[in-house]
Amino acid sequence: MIELHDLTKRHGRTLAVDRLSFRVPQGVVTGFLGPNGAGKSTTMRMILDLDRPTGGRVTIDGRRYGQLSEPLKYIGALLEAKAVHPGRTARDHLLWLAQSNRIPERRVDEALALVGLTPVARKRARGFSLGMGQRLGIASALLGDPEIVMFDEPVNGLDPEGILWIRNLMKRLAAEGRTVFVSSHLMSEMAVTADHLVVIGRGRLLADLPMPEFIKRNSRSAVRMRTPQPERLLDVLAVAGLRHEPGPDGSYEVVGGDLAALGDLAAAHGVVLHELSPQQASLEEAFMQMTADSVEYHAGDGPGRDAAGAPGTWAAGRQQHSNAQPAAAARQEEN
Protein backbone atom coordinates (compact mmCIF):
# COMPACT_ATOMS: atom_id res chain seq x y z
CA MET A 1 0.00 0.00 0.00
CA ILE A 2 1.22 3.51 -0.79
CA GLU A 3 0.84 5.95 2.10
CA LEU A 4 1.55 9.67 2.03
CA HIS A 5 1.93 11.66 5.23
CA ASP A 6 2.02 15.44 4.98
CA LEU A 7 4.05 15.11 1.81
CA THR A 8 5.35 18.51 0.75
CA LYS A 9 7.51 19.69 -2.12
CA ARG A 10 8.66 23.24 -2.54
CA HIS A 11 10.28 24.47 -5.76
CA GLY A 12 11.85 27.77 -4.82
CA ARG A 13 8.95 29.93 -3.67
CA THR A 14 6.13 27.81 -5.05
CA LEU A 15 4.59 24.89 -3.22
CA ALA A 16 4.16 22.12 -5.78
CA VAL A 17 2.78 19.67 -3.22
CA ASP A 18 1.27 20.94 0.01
CA ARG A 19 0.95 18.61 3.04
CA LEU A 20 -0.63 15.83 1.02
CA SER A 21 -1.83 12.84 3.02
CA PHE A 22 -3.76 9.87 1.64
CA ARG A 23 -3.56 6.13 1.17
CA VAL A 24 -3.87 4.30 -2.11
CA PRO A 25 -6.21 1.39 -1.37
CA GLN A 26 -5.16 -2.11 -2.37
CA GLY A 27 -6.61 -4.11 -5.22
CA VAL A 28 -8.53 -1.35 -6.96
CA VAL A 29 -7.92 1.35 -9.56
CA THR A 30 -7.36 4.68 -7.86
CA GLY A 31 -7.65 7.72 -10.05
CA PHE A 32 -5.32 10.59 -9.14
CA LEU A 33 -7.08 13.56 -10.58
CA GLY A 34 -6.15 17.19 -10.86
CA PRO A 35 -5.69 19.94 -13.43
CA ASN A 36 -2.34 20.31 -15.17
CA GLY A 37 0.18 21.65 -12.72
CA ALA A 38 -1.70 20.38 -9.67
CA GLY A 39 1.34 18.41 -8.51
CA LYS A 40 0.39 14.91 -9.69
CA SER A 41 3.68 14.12 -11.43
CA THR A 42 5.75 15.62 -8.62
CA THR A 43 3.87 13.44 -6.14
CA MET A 44 4.49 10.35 -8.24
CA ARG A 45 8.19 11.17 -8.55
CA MET A 46 8.38 11.52 -4.77
CA ILE A 47 6.71 8.12 -4.35
CA LEU A 48 9.55 6.67 -6.43
CA ASP A 49 12.20 8.63 -4.50
CA LEU A 50 13.19 10.47 -7.68
CA ASP A 51 12.37 13.84 -6.16
CA ARG A 52 13.14 14.35 -2.49
CA PRO A 53 10.28 15.72 -0.39
CA THR A 54 10.75 19.06 1.34
CA GLY A 55 8.63 17.70 4.17
CA GLY A 56 6.56 14.70 5.15
CA ARG A 57 7.11 11.18 3.90
CA VAL A 58 5.79 8.53 1.61
CA THR A 59 6.03 4.79 2.19
CA ILE A 60 5.33 1.65 0.20
CA ASP A 61 4.23 -1.25 2.39
CA GLY A 62 5.64 0.74 5.29
CA ARG A 63 9.07 1.30 3.78
CA ARG A 64 10.71 4.12 1.89
CA TYR A 65 11.21 3.42 -1.81
CA GLY A 66 14.98 3.54 -1.44
CA GLN A 67 14.80 0.78 1.17
CA LEU A 68 13.10 -1.65 -1.19
CA SER A 69 15.47 -4.27 -2.50
CA GLU A 70 14.72 -4.85 -6.18
CA PRO A 71 11.85 -2.30 -6.23
CA LEU A 72 10.54 -3.34 -9.65
CA LYS A 73 9.15 -6.46 -7.96
CA TYR A 74 6.98 -4.29 -5.68
CA ILE A 75 5.99 -1.35 -7.79
CA GLY A 76 6.12 -0.72 -11.52
CA ALA A 77 5.77 2.78 -12.87
CA LEU A 78 5.22 4.51 -16.17
CA LEU A 79 6.19 8.16 -15.88
CA GLU A 80 7.06 9.30 -19.40
CA ALA A 81 6.06 7.69 -22.65
CA LYS A 82 9.41 7.74 -24.39
CA ALA A 83 11.96 7.45 -21.61
CA VAL A 84 14.03 5.03 -23.66
CA HIS A 85 17.31 5.38 -25.51
CA PRO A 86 16.24 5.89 -29.12
CA GLY A 87 19.02 3.62 -30.37
CA ARG A 88 18.24 0.67 -28.11
CA THR A 89 15.83 -2.10 -29.07
CA ALA A 90 12.64 -2.69 -27.11
CA ARG A 91 13.93 -6.07 -25.94
CA ASP A 92 17.30 -4.71 -24.77
CA HIS A 93 15.52 -1.92 -22.91
CA LEU A 94 13.50 -4.45 -20.94
CA LEU A 95 16.49 -6.77 -20.60
CA TRP A 96 18.70 -4.30 -18.72
CA LEU A 97 15.77 -3.38 -16.49
CA ALA A 98 15.15 -7.05 -15.73
CA GLN A 99 18.82 -7.71 -15.00
CA SER A 100 19.08 -4.76 -12.61
CA ASN A 101 16.40 -6.32 -10.38
CA ARG A 102 17.31 -9.99 -11.01
CA ILE A 103 14.06 -10.62 -12.84
CA PRO A 104 14.26 -13.80 -14.99
CA GLU A 105 14.88 -13.11 -18.67
CA ARG A 106 11.74 -14.97 -19.76
CA ARG A 107 9.72 -12.14 -18.17
CA VAL A 108 11.11 -9.83 -20.85
CA ASP A 109 9.43 -11.82 -23.59
CA GLU A 110 6.28 -12.24 -21.51
CA ALA A 111 6.03 -8.49 -20.93
CA LEU A 112 6.58 -7.80 -24.64
CA ALA A 113 3.80 -10.26 -25.51
CA LEU A 114 1.51 -8.76 -22.87
CA VAL A 115 1.66 -5.31 -24.49
CA GLY A 116 1.70 -6.64 -28.04
CA LEU A 117 5.23 -5.53 -28.92
CA THR A 118 6.64 -8.97 -29.75
CA PRO A 119 6.80 -8.23 -33.51
CA VAL A 120 8.99 -5.14 -32.92
CA ALA A 121 11.01 -6.54 -30.02
CA ARG A 122 14.28 -6.20 -31.90
CA LYS A 123 13.51 -2.83 -33.47
CA ARG A 124 15.19 0.30 -32.15
CA ALA A 125 12.90 2.56 -30.14
CA ARG A 126 13.69 5.55 -32.39
CA GLY A 127 11.03 4.44 -34.88
CA PHE A 128 8.31 3.86 -32.29
CA SER A 129 5.07 5.84 -32.33
CA LEU A 130 3.85 7.45 -29.13
CA GLY A 131 1.47 4.54 -28.61
CA MET A 132 4.26 1.98 -29.01
CA GLY A 133 6.47 3.97 -26.64
CA GLN A 134 3.62 3.97 -24.14
CA ARG A 135 3.24 0.20 -24.49
CA LEU A 136 6.96 -0.26 -23.95
CA GLY A 137 6.75 1.89 -20.82
CA ILE A 138 3.87 -0.24 -19.57
CA ALA A 139 5.84 -3.40 -20.34
CA SER A 140 8.68 -2.08 -18.16
CA ALA A 141 6.20 -1.30 -15.37
CA LEU A 142 4.81 -4.85 -15.49
CA LEU A 143 8.21 -6.54 -15.89
CA GLY A 144 8.69 -7.45 -12.24
CA ASP A 145 5.10 -8.70 -11.85
CA PRO A 146 4.56 -6.01 -9.17
CA GLU A 147 1.75 -5.71 -6.64
CA ILE A 148 1.45 -2.01 -7.34
CA VAL A 149 1.45 -0.26 -10.70
CA MET A 150 1.56 3.47 -11.17
CA PHE A 151 0.85 5.25 -14.46
CA ASP A 152 1.26 8.98 -15.04
CA GLU A 153 -1.27 10.23 -17.62
CA PRO A 154 -1.13 6.98 -19.60
CA VAL A 155 -3.72 7.91 -22.20
CA ASN A 156 -2.21 11.27 -23.15
CA GLY A 157 -1.80 11.53 -26.89
CA LEU A 158 -3.11 8.05 -27.60
CA ASP A 159 -5.58 7.11 -30.31
CA PRO A 160 -8.99 5.72 -29.26
CA GLU A 161 -7.83 2.15 -29.68
CA GLY A 162 -4.82 2.76 -27.41
CA ILE A 163 -7.01 4.48 -24.82
CA LEU A 164 -9.41 1.54 -24.75
CA TRP A 165 -6.52 -0.88 -24.43
CA ILE A 166 -5.08 0.94 -21.43
CA ARG A 167 -8.48 1.19 -19.74
CA ASN A 168 -9.04 -2.52 -20.08
CA LEU A 169 -5.50 -3.28 -18.95
CA MET A 170 -5.94 -1.26 -15.77
CA LYS A 171 -9.23 -2.98 -14.98
CA ARG A 172 -7.65 -6.36 -15.60
CA LEU A 173 -4.69 -5.56 -13.35
CA ALA A 174 -7.04 -4.52 -10.55
CA ALA A 175 -9.14 -7.65 -11.10
CA GLU A 176 -5.94 -9.66 -10.55
CA GLY A 177 -5.76 -8.03 -7.13
CA ARG A 178 -3.12 -5.44 -7.95
CA THR A 179 -3.14 -1.86 -6.77
CA VAL A 180 -3.40 0.54 -9.69
CA PHE A 181 -2.64 4.22 -9.17
CA VAL A 182 -3.24 6.28 -12.27
CA SER A 183 -3.11 10.02 -12.77
CA SER A 184 -5.19 12.03 -15.19
CA HIS A 185 -6.43 15.53 -15.73
CA LEU A 186 -9.61 14.20 -17.33
CA MET A 187 -12.57 13.35 -15.11
CA SER A 188 -14.27 11.58 -18.00
CA GLU A 189 -11.34 9.19 -18.21
CA MET A 190 -11.41 8.41 -14.50
CA ALA A 191 -15.19 8.01 -14.47
CA VAL A 192 -14.87 4.91 -16.64
CA THR A 193 -11.81 3.33 -15.01
CA ALA A 194 -11.37 4.33 -11.39
CA ASP A 195 -12.91 2.64 -8.34
CA HIS A 196 -11.50 5.22 -5.98
CA LEU A 197 -10.71 8.85 -6.51
CA VAL A 198 -8.08 11.20 -5.09
CA VAL A 199 -8.47 14.77 -6.32
CA ILE A 200 -5.79 17.42 -5.84
CA GLY A 201 -5.54 21.06 -6.86
CA ARG A 202 -2.52 23.29 -6.35
CA GLY A 203 -0.80 20.48 -4.49
CA ARG A 204 -3.57 20.13 -1.90
CA LEU A 205 -5.96 17.28 -1.29
CA LEU A 206 -9.51 18.18 -2.39
CA ALA A 207 -11.21 14.82 -2.20
CA ASP A 208 -10.40 11.22 -1.33
CA LEU A 209 -13.37 8.90 -1.67
CA PRO A 210 -14.75 5.88 -3.51
CA MET A 211 -15.97 6.58 -7.01
CA PRO A 212 -19.65 5.63 -6.35
CA GLU A 213 -19.63 8.05 -3.44
CA PHE A 214 -18.18 10.77 -5.64
CA ILE A 215 -20.85 10.16 -8.26
CA LYS A 216 -23.59 10.17 -5.63
CA ARG A 217 -22.43 13.47 -4.23
CA ASN A 218 -21.66 15.17 -7.47
CA SER A 219 -23.96 13.95 -10.19
CA ARG A 220 -26.43 16.72 -9.58
CA SER A 221 -29.75 16.35 -11.33
CA ALA A 222 -32.25 19.16 -11.33
CA VAL A 223 -35.33 20.38 -13.13
CA ARG A 224 -35.14 23.81 -14.66
CA MET A 225 -38.32 25.91 -14.72
CA ARG A 226 -38.77 29.23 -16.45
CA THR A 227 -41.87 31.33 -16.01
CA PRO A 228 -43.18 34.87 -16.64
CA GLN A 229 -44.79 34.63 -13.16
CA PRO A 230 -41.81 33.99 -10.89
CA GLU A 231 -43.51 35.07 -7.69
CA ARG A 232 -46.37 32.65 -8.11
CA LEU A 233 -43.99 29.83 -8.99
CA LEU A 234 -41.86 30.47 -5.91
CA ASP A 235 -44.95 30.52 -3.72
CA VAL A 236 -46.11 27.21 -5.15
CA LEU A 237 -42.69 25.67 -4.66
CA ALA A 238 -42.50 26.97 -1.10
CA VAL A 239 -45.91 25.56 -0.24
CA ALA A 240 -44.92 22.20 -1.72
CA GLY A 241 -41.71 22.35 0.37
CA LEU A 242 -39.35 22.08 -2.64
CA ARG A 243 -35.89 23.60 -2.41
CA HIS A 244 -34.83 25.61 -5.42
CA GLU A 245 -31.83 27.51 -6.68
CA PRO A 246 -31.64 30.38 -9.15
CA GLY A 247 -30.70 29.15 -12.62
CA PRO A 248 -29.50 31.04 -15.68
CA ASP A 249 -31.61 33.73 -17.38
CA GLY A 250 -34.03 34.14 -14.51
CA SER A 251 -34.95 30.48 -14.36
CA TYR A 252 -35.20 28.33 -11.24
CA GLU A 253 -33.76 24.89 -10.67
CA VAL A 254 -35.33 22.35 -8.36
CA VAL A 255 -32.57 20.01 -7.26
CA GLY A 256 -33.61 16.36 -7.34
CA GLY A 257 -37.10 17.27 -8.50
CA ASP A 258 -39.28 15.03 -10.66
CA LEU A 259 -40.06 16.44 -14.09
CA ALA A 260 -43.68 15.19 -14.43
CA ALA A 261 -44.62 16.03 -10.83
CA LEU A 262 -43.34 19.61 -11.23
CA GLY A 263 -45.24 20.01 -14.50
CA ASP A 264 -48.43 18.77 -12.82
CA LEU A 265 -47.82 21.06 -9.86
CA ALA A 266 -47.46 24.13 -12.08
CA ALA A 267 -50.59 23.21 -14.07
CA ALA A 268 -52.63 22.62 -10.92
CA HIS A 269 -51.83 26.16 -9.72
CA GLY A 270 -52.16 27.73 -13.14
CA VAL A 271 -48.56 28.86 -13.38
CA VAL A 272 -47.47 29.52 -16.95
CA LEU A 273 -44.23 27.72 -17.82
CA HIS A 274 -41.92 28.69 -20.69
CA GLU A 275 -39.46 25.99 -19.88
CA LEU A 276 -39.55 22.70 -18.03
CA SER A 277 -36.38 20.72 -18.62
CA PRO A 278 -34.20 18.14 -16.91
CA GLN A 279 -30.65 19.26 -16.08
CA GLN A 280 -27.78 16.85 -15.54
CA ALA A 281 -24.45 18.22 -14.32
CA SER A 282 -21.66 15.96 -15.52
CA LEU A 283 -18.87 14.67 -13.33
CA GLU A 284 -16.54 16.74 -15.48
CA GLU A 285 -18.39 19.88 -14.37
CA ALA A 286 -18.27 18.71 -10.78
CA PHE A 287 -14.52 18.21 -11.04
CA MET A 288 -13.96 21.57 -12.68
CA GLN A 289 -16.08 23.21 -10.04
CA MET A 290 -14.06 21.51 -7.33
CA THR A 291 -10.69 22.52 -8.71
CA ALA A 292 -11.88 26.03 -9.54
CA ASP A 293 -12.67 26.36 -5.84
CA SER A 294 -9.16 25.30 -4.97
CA VAL A 295 -7.77 27.99 -7.21
CA GLU A 296 -10.11 30.44 -5.49
CA TYR A 297 -8.90 29.54 -2.00
CA HIS A 298 -5.36 30.33 -3.02
CA ALA A 299 -6.07 33.45 -5.02
CA GLY A 300 -8.16 34.93 -2.22
CA ASP A 301 -6.01 33.58 0.61
CA GLY A 302 -9.26 33.88 2.53
CA PRO A 303 -10.61 32.01 5.51
CA GLY A 304 -11.65 29.13 3.24
CA ARG A 305 -8.04 28.06 2.87
CA ASP A 306 -8.17 25.19 5.28
CA ALA A 307 -11.55 23.97 4.16
CA ALA A 308 -10.02 21.93 1.35
CA GLY A 309 -9.05 18.42 2.18
CA ALA A 310 -11.66 16.35 3.92
CA PRO A 311 -14.11 14.61 1.59
CA GLY A 312 -17.05 16.19 3.35
CA THR A 313 -16.06 19.71 2.48
CA TRP A 314 -16.86 19.14 -1.14
CA ALA A 315 -20.53 18.75 -0.35
CA ALA A 316 -20.40 22.06 1.46
CA GLY A 317 -18.48 23.60 -1.41
CA ARG A 318 -21.17 22.53 -3.81
CA GLN A 319 -23.75 24.61 -2.00
CA GLN A 320 -21.71 27.64 -2.99
CA HIS A 321 -22.24 26.74 -6.62
CA SER A 322 -24.10 29.91 -7.45
CA ASN A 323 -21.64 32.10 -5.57
CA ALA A 324 -18.61 30.63 -7.24
CA GLN A 325 -19.42 31.93 -10.69
CA PRO A 326 -19.51 35.65 -9.90
CA ALA A 327 -16.29 35.16 -7.95
CA ALA A 328 -14.67 33.54 -10.97
CA ALA A 329 -15.90 36.37 -13.19
CA ALA A 330 -14.54 38.95 -10.78
CA ARG A 331 -11.18 37.26 -10.87
CA GLN A 332 -11.10 37.47 -14.63
CA GLU A 333 -11.79 41.17 -14.50
CA GLU A 334 -8.87 41.65 -12.17
CA ASN A 335 -6.67 40.05 -14.79
Partner: protein, 255 residues
Protein backbone atom coordinates in the same frame (compact mmCIF):
# COMPACT_ATOMS: atom_id res chain seq x y z
CA UNK B 1 19.93 -3.21 -1.38
CA UNK B 2 20.25 -3.90 -5.03
CA UNK B 3 22.78 -6.57 -5.87
CA UNK B 4 25.99 -5.11 -7.29
CA UNK B 5 26.62 -7.92 -9.80
CA UNK B 6 23.05 -7.36 -11.05
CA UNK B 7 23.81 -3.68 -11.57
CA UNK B 8 26.99 -4.57 -13.47
CA UNK B 9 25.13 -6.99 -15.75
CA UNK B 10 22.43 -4.44 -16.35
CA UNK B 11 24.86 -1.62 -17.13
CA UNK B 12 26.80 -3.93 -19.45
CA UNK B 13 23.60 -4.70 -21.36
CA UNK B 14 22.94 -0.97 -21.61
CA UNK B 15 26.38 -0.13 -22.93
CA UNK B 16 26.60 -2.93 -25.47
CA UNK B 17 23.11 -2.32 -26.86
CA UNK B 18 23.69 1.15 -28.31
CA UNK B 19 25.61 1.86 -31.48
CA UNK B 20 27.44 4.90 -30.17
CA UNK B 21 29.57 2.56 -28.03
CA UNK B 22 30.88 0.73 -31.08
CA UNK B 23 31.40 3.91 -33.10
CA UNK B 24 33.25 5.92 -30.50
CA UNK B 25 35.48 3.04 -29.42
CA UNK B 26 36.21 2.02 -33.01
CA UNK B 27 37.07 5.63 -33.78
CA UNK B 28 39.42 5.79 -30.79
CA UNK B 29 41.27 2.77 -32.15
CA UNK B 30 41.33 3.82 -35.80
CA UNK B 31 42.40 7.41 -35.19
CA UNK B 32 45.10 6.56 -32.65
CA UNK B 33 46.58 3.71 -34.68
CA UNK B 34 46.10 5.39 -38.05
CA UNK B 35 47.60 8.80 -37.28
CA UNK B 36 50.47 7.17 -35.37
CA UNK B 37 51.17 4.92 -38.36
CA UNK B 38 51.09 7.87 -40.75
CA UNK B 39 53.48 9.93 -38.62
CA UNK B 40 55.80 6.96 -38.18
CA UNK B 41 55.92 6.37 -41.90
CA UNK B 42 56.58 10.03 -42.67
CA UNK B 43 59.27 10.20 -40.00
CA UNK B 44 61.02 7.13 -41.32
CA UNK B 45 61.01 8.43 -44.89
CA UNK B 46 62.24 11.91 -43.96
CA UNK B 47 64.27 11.08 -40.89
CA UNK B 48 67.37 13.20 -41.57
CA UNK B 49 65.30 16.19 -42.59
CA UNK B 50 63.03 15.95 -39.51
CA UNK B 51 65.94 15.49 -37.12
CA UNK B 52 68.14 18.31 -38.42
CA UNK B 53 69.20 20.66 -35.59
CA UNK B 54 67.36 18.54 -32.99
CA UNK B 55 69.53 17.74 -29.99
CA UNK B 56 67.16 15.57 -27.94
CA UNK B 57 67.22 11.79 -28.42
CA UNK B 58 64.67 10.44 -30.93
CA UNK B 59 61.58 9.04 -29.16
CA UNK B 60 60.20 6.26 -31.35
CA UNK B 61 57.44 5.53 -28.82
CA UNK B 62 55.93 9.02 -28.80
CA UNK B 63 56.17 9.12 -32.61
CA UNK B 64 53.95 6.04 -32.75
CA UNK B 65 51.53 7.69 -30.31
CA UNK B 66 51.29 10.93 -32.29
CA UNK B 67 47.58 10.28 -32.94
CA UNK B 68 46.54 9.93 -29.32
CA UNK B 69 45.53 13.60 -28.89
CA UNK B 70 42.87 13.10 -31.52
CA UNK B 71 42.04 9.54 -30.54
CA UNK B 72 41.37 10.65 -26.98
CA UNK B 73 38.51 12.87 -28.19
CA UNK B 74 36.60 9.78 -29.37
CA UNK B 75 36.94 8.02 -26.03
CA UNK B 76 35.95 11.25 -24.24
CA UNK B 77 32.80 11.31 -26.37
CA UNK B 78 32.24 7.66 -25.43
CA UNK B 79 32.46 8.53 -21.72
CA UNK B 80 30.11 11.50 -22.13
CA UNK B 81 27.48 9.59 -24.12
CA UNK B 82 27.50 6.56 -21.82
CA UNK B 83 26.39 8.73 -18.91
CA UNK B 84 24.73 11.63 -20.72
CA UNK B 85 22.27 9.79 -22.95
CA UNK B 86 20.21 8.92 -19.85
CA UNK B 87 19.62 12.58 -19.18
CA UNK B 88 18.61 13.53 -22.71
CA UNK B 89 15.90 10.87 -22.89
CA UNK B 90 14.50 10.92 -19.35
CA UNK B 91 15.87 7.41 -18.98
CA UNK B 92 17.66 8.43 -15.79
CA UNK B 93 14.30 8.32 -13.97
CA UNK B 94 13.65 4.79 -15.22
CA UNK B 95 17.15 3.78 -14.11
CA UNK B 96 16.83 5.32 -10.66
CA UNK B 97 13.39 3.79 -10.16
CA UNK B 98 14.99 0.40 -10.85
CA UNK B 99 18.12 1.11 -8.76
CA UNK B 100 17.37 3.77 -6.13
CA UNK B 101 20.84 3.39 -4.52
CA UNK B 102 22.38 6.20 -6.52
CA UNK B 103 25.98 5.92 -5.32
CA UNK B 104 26.05 2.20 -6.00
CA UNK B 105 24.50 2.81 -9.39
CA UNK B 106 27.15 5.32 -10.47
CA UNK B 107 29.89 3.04 -9.14
CA UNK B 108 28.49 0.21 -11.25
CA UNK B 109 28.35 2.45 -14.31
CA UNK B 110 31.95 3.58 -13.76
CA UNK B 111 33.20 0.01 -13.32
CA UNK B 112 31.56 -1.18 -16.55
CA UNK B 113 32.57 1.93 -18.47
CA UNK B 114 36.13 1.85 -17.09
CA UNK B 115 36.61 -1.86 -17.76
CA UNK B 116 35.47 -1.57 -21.36
CA UNK B 117 37.52 1.58 -21.93
CA UNK B 118 40.59 -0.10 -20.40
CA UNK B 119 40.32 -3.17 -22.63
CA UNK B 120 39.92 -1.05 -25.76
CA UNK B 121 42.72 1.29 -24.63
CA UNK B 122 45.21 -1.52 -23.93
CA UNK B 123 44.53 -3.11 -27.31
CA UNK B 124 44.75 0.29 -29.01
CA UNK B 125 48.01 1.17 -27.22
CA UNK B 126 49.83 -2.04 -28.11
CA UNK B 127 48.67 -2.13 -31.72
CA UNK B 128 49.56 1.54 -32.09
CA UNK B 129 53.02 0.85 -30.69
CA UNK B 130 53.76 -2.19 -32.84
CA UNK B 131 52.34 -0.64 -36.01
CA UNK B 132 54.40 2.49 -35.44
CA UNK B 133 57.60 0.57 -34.79
CA UNK B 134 57.09 -1.60 -37.88
CA UNK B 135 56.82 1.55 -39.99
CA UNK B 136 59.77 3.29 -38.33
CA UNK B 137 62.13 0.64 -39.69
CA UNK B 138 65.68 1.10 -38.43
CA UNK B 139 64.64 3.95 -36.09
CA UNK B 140 62.20 1.82 -34.12
CA UNK B 141 62.41 0.77 -30.51
CA UNK B 142 61.24 -2.30 -28.61
CA UNK B 143 59.25 -3.00 -25.45
CA UNK B 144 62.49 -4.18 -23.87
CA UNK B 145 64.07 -0.71 -23.94
CA UNK B 146 63.95 1.27 -20.68
CA UNK B 147 60.55 2.90 -19.90
CA UNK B 148 58.96 1.81 -23.19
CA UNK B 149 56.61 -0.78 -21.72
CA UNK B 150 55.57 1.75 -19.04
CA UNK B 151 54.87 4.31 -21.74
CA UNK B 152 52.65 1.91 -23.70
CA UNK B 153 50.64 0.96 -20.63
CA UNK B 154 50.68 4.63 -19.71
CA UNK B 155 48.96 5.45 -23.00
CA UNK B 156 46.24 2.91 -22.19
CA UNK B 157 45.72 4.28 -18.67
CA UNK B 158 45.74 7.83 -20.04
CA UNK B 159 42.84 7.06 -22.41
CA UNK B 160 40.90 5.16 -19.74
CA UNK B 161 41.24 7.90 -17.15
CA UNK B 162 40.20 10.65 -19.59
CA UNK B 163 37.11 8.57 -20.44
CA UNK B 164 36.16 8.19 -16.77
CA UNK B 165 36.96 11.83 -16.03
CA UNK B 166 34.56 12.85 -18.82
CA UNK B 167 31.92 10.46 -17.48
CA UNK B 168 32.22 12.06 -14.03
CA UNK B 169 31.98 15.58 -15.45
CA UNK B 170 28.88 14.56 -17.42
CA UNK B 171 27.26 13.19 -14.25
CA UNK B 172 27.94 16.56 -12.63
CA UNK B 173 26.55 18.59 -15.56
CA UNK B 174 23.63 16.17 -16.19
CA UNK B 175 23.50 17.15 -19.85
CA UNK B 176 25.47 15.49 -22.61
CA UNK B 177 25.43 18.40 -25.04
CA UNK B 178 26.76 20.71 -22.37
CA UNK B 179 29.37 18.15 -21.32
CA UNK B 180 30.61 17.76 -24.89
CA UNK B 181 30.62 21.51 -25.32
CA UNK B 182 32.82 21.88 -22.26
CA UNK B 183 35.12 18.87 -22.56
CA UNK B 184 35.95 18.77 -26.25
CA UNK B 185 37.13 22.40 -26.54
CA UNK B 186 38.93 22.04 -23.22
CA UNK B 187 40.96 18.99 -24.25
CA UNK B 188 41.34 19.85 -27.91
CA UNK B 189 42.10 23.57 -27.69
CA UNK B 190 42.30 25.13 -24.29
CA UNK B 191 44.59 22.73 -22.46
CA UNK B 192 47.15 22.28 -25.31
CA UNK B 193 47.31 26.04 -25.90
CA UNK B 194 47.54 27.02 -22.24
CA UNK B 195 50.25 24.44 -21.60
CA UNK B 196 52.67 26.40 -23.82
CA UNK B 197 51.72 29.93 -22.76
CA UNK B 198 54.35 31.35 -20.39
CA UNK B 199 53.30 31.56 -16.74
CA UNK B 200 49.80 30.15 -17.40
CA UNK B 201 51.46 26.89 -18.31
CA UNK B 202 52.50 26.32 -14.70
CA UNK B 203 48.80 25.93 -13.96
CA UNK B 204 48.00 24.08 -17.19
CA UNK B 205 50.66 21.51 -16.33
CA UNK B 206 48.33 20.25 -13.63
CA UNK B 207 45.38 19.68 -15.99
CA UNK B 208 44.37 16.02 -16.29
CA UNK B 209 45.45 15.54 -19.90
CA UNK B 210 48.88 17.13 -19.54
CA UNK B 211 49.48 15.21 -16.31
CA UNK B 212 48.30 11.93 -17.80
CA UNK B 213 50.36 12.35 -20.94
CA UNK B 214 53.57 12.40 -18.81
CA UNK B 215 53.13 8.64 -18.57
CA UNK B 216 53.88 8.35 -22.28
CA UNK B 217 57.34 9.90 -22.08
CA UNK B 218 60.33 7.62 -22.49
CA UNK B 219 63.02 10.31 -22.20
CA UNK B 220 63.06 13.08 -19.65
CA UNK B 221 62.20 16.43 -21.18
CA UNK B 222 64.10 19.55 -20.32
CA UNK B 223 62.31 21.48 -17.57
CA UNK B 224 59.50 18.98 -17.12
CA UNK B 225 57.59 19.78 -13.95
CA UNK B 226 57.29 16.22 -12.68
CA UNK B 227 57.84 12.62 -13.68
CA UNK B 228 55.51 10.02 -15.23
CA UNK B 229 54.27 8.54 -11.96
CA UNK B 230 53.43 11.92 -10.48
CA UNK B 231 51.56 12.59 -13.73
CA UNK B 232 49.64 9.36 -13.27
CA UNK B 233 48.74 10.32 -9.70
CA UNK B 234 47.53 13.80 -10.73
CA UNK B 235 45.43 12.41 -13.59
CA UNK B 236 43.98 9.73 -11.30
CA UNK B 237 43.12 12.36 -8.69
CA UNK B 238 41.22 14.38 -11.32
CA UNK B 239 39.37 11.26 -12.44
CA UNK B 240 38.34 10.25 -8.94
CA UNK B 241 37.35 13.82 -8.09
CA UNK B 242 35.12 14.01 -11.18
CA UNK B 243 33.45 10.68 -10.35
CA UNK B 244 32.92 11.58 -6.70
CA UNK B 245 31.53 14.96 -7.80
CA UNK B 246 29.20 13.17 -10.22
CA UNK B 247 28.03 10.84 -7.45
CA UNK B 248 27.38 13.75 -5.08
CA UNK B 249 25.33 15.58 -7.71
CA UNK B 250 23.40 12.42 -8.55
CA UNK B 251 22.67 11.77 -4.88
CA UNK B 252 21.63 15.29 -3.99
CA UNK B 253 19.58 16.43 -6.98
CA UNK B 254 16.03 15.55 -7.94
CA UNK B 255 16.10 13.33 -10.99
Amino acid sequence: MASFPAILRSEWTKIRSVRSTIWTLALTFVVTVGLGALLSLLTNNNFTEFRRNVQTPFDATSTAFAGIRLGELAIIVFGVLAIGNEYSSGLIRVTLAAVPQRGTLLTGKAVVLGALALVVSVVTAFITFFTGQALLGSHSTTLGEPHVLRAVFGAALYLTMLCLFSAGVTAMLRNQTLALGVLVPFFFLLSPILSVVPKVKTLAHYFPDYAGSRMLLVFEEQGQPYGPWAGFAICLAWTLAALVGGALVLKSRDA
